[in-house]
């Protein structure tokens, strides 16, 4: 895949996210952070600390109650839904704990989904690019298989390939290794590191302290607030 050189990165400015209700729940409480391009940032914290909520805000999947997310320096809080949808399609790739692959589509077809939605390339170019991405992840052999015919690690690699489809500068991963064994988890982390080295901005929510220790930047959340990360032994 082509190296992405984008200067700017992802910045959170005083992000607050409150779930309204009879008893309002504060998910993210005044978080400000900056993720550098070309770095892998790990977001850690105990369960329910708001890691995933922060990631969804950074990825424009959710709107903050107040504060803003700067994408390459541009504020996003005032954008309408259609523009945010478009921005996600062009600039973000998501990997979730569960692969969320379309079960009726082959591996190749799943990778093609974001490209076909973007419609920036010709059919032949799309297919060539999808196969190239799959090849770089060691998945070229599986291109015609259905997700149900893959192992857990292979499915997650397919999901990563899909996240890379439109060559986005930002890759956001929510516990991408949560459902994998140690060996597969390490492999997925290696891939994410590789993406960061190639110049992308990568943010990973993870429980795994060992993996988090390898990250270039670390953000630790407790009760929705950013705190000093605990020292790793």
């Amino acid at each position: 895949m082509g190296a992405v050189v984008e200067v700017g990165g992802l910045k959170a400015v005083d992000l607050l996210r409150v779930l309204p209700g009879p008893v309002p729940t504060v998910l993210v409480d005044g978080v400000s952070l900056s993720i550098r391009p070309g770095s892998l940032a790990a977001i850690t914290g105990p369960s329910g600390s708001g890691k995933s909520s922060l990631l969804y805000l950074l990825g424009l999947l959710d709107r903050p109650t107040s504060g803003d997310v700067l994408v390459d320096g541009a504020p996003t809080a005032g954008l309408d839904s259609a523009t945010r949808d478009r921005l996600r399609l062009e600039r973000f790739g998501f990997v979730f704990q569960f692969h969320f692959l379309l079960p009726e589509f082959s591996v190749l077809d799943n990778v093609l989904v974001p490209m076909r939605e973007l419609k920036a390339l010709s059919g032949t170019a799309m297919r060539a690019r999808a196969l190239e991405i799959l090849d770089s992840l060691g998945m070229a052999e599986q291109a015609d298989k259905l997700p149900s015919q893959l192992s857990g690690g292979q499915r997650q690699r397919t999901a990563i390939a899909r996240a890379l489809a439109n060559d986005p500068p930002f890759i956001l991963a929510d516990e991408p290794t949560g459902a994998l064994d140690t060996r597969n988890a390490a492999a997925v982390f290696d891939i994410l590191h590789g993406l960061a080295r190639a110049g992308r901005t990568v943010a990973v929510v993870t429980h795994d302290a060992g993996l988090a220790a390898t990250a270039g930047q670390r953000f630790h959340l407790v009760d929705g607030r950013l705190v000093e990360p605990p020292k790793v032994a």
Partner: protein, 419 residues
């Protein structure tokens, strides 16, 4: 599966969903197909029956019938004198007991001068035919055979003898074929005709006709006009002018024009046979409602399958939304699913309808004396188009509700729930 990338993404996903639920999809498609097929076949059969019947009516009855009646009774002198007064007139008796069309010859001459129109005078009355001690109530029409031959199809409806034979026979009579069979009489036999006013005449049968309309074949006879006037005791009176038009379709405007001009009631065949036509209209409503109901039920089937798919595919919808697919495109996926079911159902339904119509055409027509006569089924491109259009519309409407619900799915709620 080789992806066909020229196909828009929503269509690919929609087709993949339907293929994954093959049995459900096939049942939904069959529902639509049966609706479309029945619609085409049954409406074709009804239209066939109705147009057969209409041809019979149009051929056997005058296109416009002028009678010695007024659409509204003429105003009484007192009413003309005091138009504002609240009058209550009772026991008004017609001035002229021998009713008929006044100045008939002048009207006939005027009609004769009009192009595209043939007119024949007639005196209609009741009578009793007596034969071998039994009486048969009949409608007696006194006609001028030469004119009648031009204004109606009587000449071509003769099954024995000719209309011309009546022209030369002052004591001739033409009977309906069913009546003749009932009375066990044939050409050359004589019968006795009596009128309510007491006149009688011995008549000789010179012809038999068959229109296919039972009330005529079983109860109508023709004699010469002068003979009828004598028997009924109404000399030189006619009470009907029977008109045939070159263009049947103009019957209503022509009738209106004639009524305005001559004052007498001029009824187009649509009015004379309004009861039959209103039965046809009712028949059509019933057919469209019942066959439409099949399509509505098919619509529920489509609603059902797409609702299920939307529920099952919440995760897929969530990932598509998070990838950046706008809600409108998500809606399109499921609308397309409905349209695919509707369109395939329509095509299969066309084949089913065509086949059913062909099968119906092989069934012998009930009540027909000719064994080779089969059911007439009129299928038109229009009936195929209407059935297909209703099917597609139903399918889109049925898909709309679940499809718009799919667009409202919050991707975050699903992603959070799965984690």
């Amino acid at each position: 599966m080789i992806p066909r990338l020229s196909v828009p993404l929503p269509i690919s996903i929609a087709v993949a969903h339907l293929r994954a639920r093959r049995r459900q999809s096939v049942v939904s498609i069959l529902g639509v197909a049966l609706g479309v097929g029945f619609f085409i076949a049954i409406s074709g059969m009804m239209h066939g029956f109705q147009s057969y019947f209409l041809v019979q009516i149009v051929e056997s009855t005058p296109h416009v019938l002028i009678t010695d009646e007024y659409r509204s009774p003429p105003a009484q002198p007192l009413e003309l004198l005091e138009p504002q007064a609240a009058l209550d007139l009772r026991r008004v008796v017609a001035r002229d007991p021998v009713r008929g069309i006044a100045n008939a010859q002048a009207i006939l001459d005027a009609l004769q001068a009009m192009p595209g129109l043939e007119a024949a005078p007639a005196l209609r009355g009741q009578g009793l035919l007596r034969r071998a001690g039994r009486d048969y109530g009949v409608t007696v029409l006194g006609i001028r055979p030469e004119r009648e031959g031009k204004a109606t199809q009587l000449a071509s409806e003769m099954v024995a003898g000719t209309l011309d034979a009546l022209e030369g026979a002052t004591d001739g009579v033409i009977l309906g074929s069913l009546l003749a069979a009932k009375m066990a009489v044939g050409l050359g036999d004589s019968v006795l005709l009596a009128s309510p006013s007491g006149g009688t005449a011995r008549l000789r049968i010179v012809g038999l006709f068959k229109t296919g309309i039972e009330t005529l074949d079983n109860g109508q006879i023709y004699v010469q006009l002068a003979k009828q006037q004598a028997i009924q005791g109404r000399p030189r009176v006619i009470n009907e002018i029977r008109i045939r038009l070159a263009e049947v379709a103009r019957s209503i405007p022509v009738a209106e024009a004639l009524e305005r001009r001559f004052g007498y009631k001029a009824a187009p065949w649509e009015e004379t046979n309004s009861r039959v036509l209103s039965v046809f209209r009712l028949q059509n409503v019933i057919i469209y409602m019942t066959t439409g109901a099949i399509l509505v039920v098919a619509g529920f089937g489509i609603f059902n399958i797409i609702s299920t798919v939307v529920l099952e595919k919440a995760r897929d919808i969530a990932i598509l939304r998070s990838v950046g697919m706008p809600p409108a495109t998500v809606t399109r996926i499921f609308i397309v699913e409905g349209m695919v079911v509707g369109a395939v159902g329509m095509l299969v339904g066309w084949v089913v309808g065509f086949g059913m119509a062909e099968a119906l055409r092989m069934i012998p027509a009930p009540g027909s004396t000719d064994p080779t006569q089969t059911l007439r089924v009129d299928t038109s491109p229009l009936s195929f188009a209407i059935a297909g259009g209703i099917a597609l519309l139903t399918a889109i409407l049925a898909a709309w509700l679940p499809a718009s619900r799919a667009a409202r799915i919050d991707p975050l709620a699903i992603i959070r729930g799965a984690a």
